[in-house]
Amino acid sequence: MPTKRMMEPFWWALFGAGGTVAALLVPIHLFLQGIAAPLGWVSINPTLFGHLLVKLYLFVLISLPLYHWAHRFRYTLYDLGVKGMRQPIAVLCYGIAVVGTIVTAWILWRG
């Protein structure tokens, strides 16, 4: 085993989890919140969002796919030929995902 533990498998695991959550849940929520609700086809019940279970669900739904984005976007920048900045790009991408996770938790918690 390497003496310095590489973090790659950890981010990949989050990427996989986030991508699966996104694949299963994002399309329907996108349709409901982004198209149906604004156009008045459906009205979301606000009291739903007070529930702890709903908040946990929303936390997973929003924060996990951020890691899917971070990992994918990091490697897309590599694939677009961005060289010599591999470390900063990785830190930036995962950093944004972590910040997003904290903000999501805070918004859901204080609400």
Binding site: A22, A23, V26, I28, L32, G34, F49, T76, G111
Partner: protein
């Protein structure tokens, strides 16, 4: 790696063009798949703001939903929706290559894994749709 040796003639090292992903339809589709993660992330941020406004109160929420009625936002969400569909489809296809389930010599056909993924996707989406409609205000 390709240094010319005295006993070897000069080799020609081709350079990878910066727009390599525009050179082949398959490469372009790959880039679209990767790009889908950006649209999904942006939607989730908008969704989070929507929730934040909803938790502030009905007036704030109503105002935000009004903003989302703007044609620009509707178009964004339609485009993001198409990208999200593309992500889901390619995700389950990819999963079928990774999830190798074997019983003795027999391997579960990849198409079956894709079918399970698509079914789960359909069921989950339907359940959420029903819940939202049943529990609407």
């Amino acid at each position: 790696m390709t240094a010319a040796r005295p006993d070897r003639p000069k080799m020609f090292q081709p350079k990878m063009p910066a727009n390599w992903w525009l050179k082949h339809p398959k490469y372009f589709l790959f880039m679209l798949r990767e790009l889908s993660s950006v649209f999904i992330a942006i939607f989730l941020v908008v969704f989070l703001i929507q929730i934040a406004q909803l938790l502030r109160g009905p007036a704030a929420y109503k105002a935000f939903v009004q903003t989302l009625r703007a044609p620009g936002w509707i178009i964004f969400h339609i485009v993001a929706f198409l990208f999200a569909l593309y992500h889901s489809i390619t995700w389950f296809e990819a999963a079928s290559k990774i999830l190798v389930i074997r019983r003795g010599e027999h391997r579960v056909p990849p198409q079956d894994v894709v079918a399970v993924g698509f079914t789960a996707w359909g069921v989950v989406s339907f359940v959420i749709l029903v819940l939202v409609l049943l529990l609407r205000s």
